[in-house]
């Protein structure tokens, strides 16, 4: 796990760190005052990732009785009218560790933008565990060494229960930094009452009959990938040329007044309210909506294929309670915990054994037998991966092609 080991004991390390880590010097402050706010953003500020011997680091961690868990809204089981989460309660009962559960992640990019400057300035984010999709932001976190390499001996359940689809993924070989929380499909959802016909294809998002009532994602990775699929291109192997073609068809869609809005998670609200009739959608959201009274809404796997993504648990550097976070991961990778949570959130479960638990213990066959929660191998064959950016320049290229569609 360790890369460049520093010789000597920990006090020497602290001394060396003291030499290399900047403090807020007067000069620094004056430079800020004199007109640049860049001190925190320049490489002169070395990073918290000056930890090089992660084994020693882990060994130095003391067990704690709490941890802070930053997650997306409605991404865990809920009981009653508010903030009661049975899975968390069970975890606390089992381990004595309290969880400060925060629903602070609306989307990958804004959340990354929120924590990146903090990490860059070497400060703790305040979170012990975060959940990030396998988009560029996760890659960037890994490249920046802003994630703590996991101490896998503490998570034996992962090896035991994890679905093959989340073991050693391309974006994190060997699960060095991440373990999947949920996977999911990005397909199409619609309200048959309003569309008045069945939807089968990405082409339908371009149907002029739905003008002003089509929802698209404002996450440009999702947006671009949908257009690529519509054009019959596999996003994972696409080229910048393909991107331009995809952008053109998206621009066409927008210019014709088809698009109601480029949504973040708020699309589900708009879909439920009838503001949009057809939209890019995440499978689990539609499942949840169905179970909460919006029975009309339908999720489809378009004939062109479907995007599969993975949301991953990770520990940001500077975390104060990493051992507790590991304990949670280990807890999550059990059929019981995964089952309780899965029965509520209905995305794709990374623990196949949870199916039996849901079927036999929770007795919810609708979820247990759903091909969208526990997809068959044939379904999995229809899925596509996102394009994996190899550099910031590549990511910028993608941005410069797709951002103007959303922003202009």
């Amino acid at each position: 796990m360790s890369e460049d080991e520093l010789p000597g004991n920990s006090s020497q390390q602290a001394f060396l760190r003291g030499l290399t880590q900047p403090r807020l010097t007067r000069q620094n402050f004056l430079r800020g005052a004199a007109g640049t706010a860049l001190a925190a953003l320049t490489p002169q500020i070395s990073r918290a990732a000056t930890v090089t011997d992660w084994n020693a680091w882990w060994a130095a961690q003391k067990p704690s009785d709490q941890f802070v868990f930053a997650n997306w809204p409605y991404y865990i089981d809920v009981q009653g009218n508010g903030s009661d989460h049975p899975s968390i309660d069970a975890f606390t009962k089992q381990t004595g560790i309290k969880v400060k559960y925060m629903e602070v992640i609306q989307n990958n990019a804004p959340f990354y933008a929120q924590i990146a400057p903090v990490l860059k300035s070497g400060q703790p984010t305040g979170y012990d565990m975060i959940v990030m999709t396998n988009h560029w932001e996760l890659t960037e976190l890994i490249l920046q060494k802003w994630l703590v390499p996991l101490w896998k001996e503490k998570v034996p359940n992962f090896a035991k229960y994890a679905s093959p689809s989340v073991v050693s993924p391309a974006y994190d070989p060997g699960n060095k930094y991440t373990m999947a929380w949920q996977s999911g499909f990005t397909g199409i959802a619609y309200n048959p009452k309003l569309t008045k016909r069945e939807i089968t294809s990405f082409e339908d998002l371009w149907d002029p009959a739905f003008a002003g009532h089509v929802g698209m994602f404002n996450d440009n990775t999702e947006l671009g990938s949908a257009a690529l699929l519509k054009l019959g291109i596999d996003p994972a192997t696409s080229t910048p040329e393909d991107w331009h073609k995809a952008a053109a068809t998206l621009r066409d869609q927008k210019d014709k007044g088809l698009v109601r809005q480029y949504y973040d998670q708020s699309y589900i609200n708009a879909l439920q309210n009838g503001d949009i009739w057809i939209t890019q959608a995440w499978s689990g959201d539609i499942y949840q909506a169905n179970s909460k009274g919006y029975k009309d809404l339908k999720f489809v796997v378009p004939k062109e294929g479907i995007m599969m993504w993975h949301d991953n648990m990770a520990i940001p550097v500077g975390a104060k309670n990493p051992l507790s976070a590991l304990a949670w991961m280990n807890y999550y990778y059990t059929p019981e915990a995964a089952g309780i949570i899965e029965d509520y959130i209905n995305y794709i479960c990374p623990v196949p054994a949870a199916k039996d638990y849901i079927l036999n213990v929770i007795k919810d066959p609708a979820v247990a037998n759903s091909p969208l929660v526990f997809p068959s191998d044939t379904d999995l064959k229809k899925t596509h991966d996102f394009y994996a950016f190899k550099s910031y320049a590549e990511f910028q290229k993608w941005n410069s092609i797709f951002n103007p569609i959303i922003q202009a």
Partner: protein
């Protein structure tokens, strides 16, 4: 004397009576328009919310959301943060703003025009710009974003409003009162606390209330400097993305009622003070 000439004059213009009716109707219509969103908020706080979100359709009257008004801990906590920041930042703003208001209202000094411009720029600067520039500053200073930075930012935009409100009150104050106090043996310090301060106190209270309201309502600037700390508007803004829990409407209704009562009490008090 004047009534003799004006009474028939006003009655003579019947077109202006019609105009007045129209205007009065228009005013009431605008007040209704002004209140519409609040009515929606209050009404829908009583709507049954089976899935934990406020639904567009009327699903039936319920008091459930009121029973569980504080069930969402994050939301309650965010409201607590908001109240704390609003009360505190308003207080600091008033403490900083009162001396400047005195200086601007009572002295001519070098840099006064510049001060005027800075104060106005602070009021008029777009919130995105203020928020973004403060974020840049806090990053430079390695200051962790949280309650403290929200607090600093809120004082930064509130100070100007405090100055303007208090200054108006100070300007209305007869300078002879100071002289009279000095003449009667009060040192400037004593004169301030016995005469000037009690007389500008309504202005100071008004400024505090304004700052409090601006602060508790601020979303844009807070977005930039909040870090992981949530304020009420931030939480609500986040919740709009996925559907608003009815508690948002319930707590807002509480805040609304509390604010109205506070304002009415203040008005009644100042009326009593003025007439007594």
């Amino acid at each position: 004397m004047s009534s003799v000439t004006t009474l028939p004059a006003t009655k003579a213009y019947s077109p202006s009576r019609v105009g007045e009716r129209l205007l009065s109707f228009f005013t009431w219509a605008m007040i209704a328009y002004n209140m519409l969103p609040i009515a929606v908020m209050v009404v829908f706080s009583f709507n049954t919310a089976p899935n934990g979100h406020v639904a567009l359709k009327w699903l039936g009257f319920t008091l459930d959301s009121y029973k569980h008004a504080f069930a969402i801990q994050d939301l309650t906590g965010a409201l607590g943060n908001s109240l704390e920041v609003a009360a505190g930042s308003a207080l600091i703003s008033v403490i900083l703003g009162t001396p400047l208001a005195l200086a601007l209202a009572r002295y001519k000094f070098w840099g006064k025009t510049l001060t005027d411009i800075v104060i106005f720029a602070d009021i008029a600067a777009p919130a995105v710009v203020v928020g973004a520039s403060l974020l840049a500053l806090f990053l430079t200073l390695n200051l962790p974003r949280g309650l403290l930075t929200i607090f600093i930012a809120h004082v930064a935009f509130n100070v100007a409003f405090a100055v303007v409100v208090i200054r108006a009150r100070v300007s209305g104050l007869d300078r002879a009162l100071d002289r009279a106090a000095a003449d009667l043996g009060a040192t400037p310090w004593v004169a301030f606390w016995t005469v000037v301060f009690p007389l500008i106190l309504p202005g100071i209270i008004g400024a505090w209330l304004l700052c409090f309201m601006l602060s508790i309502d601020d979303l844009i600037i807070t977005t930039f400097v909040a870090g992981q700390t949530l304020t009420f508007p931030l939480w609500v803004y986040g919740a709009t993305k996925i559907g608003t829990p009815p508690q948002v409407f319930v707590l807002s209704t509480f805040v609304f009622i509390g604010g109205v009562l506070l304002a009415l009490a203040n008005a009644a008090l100042s009326r009593k003070r003025e007439s007594a």
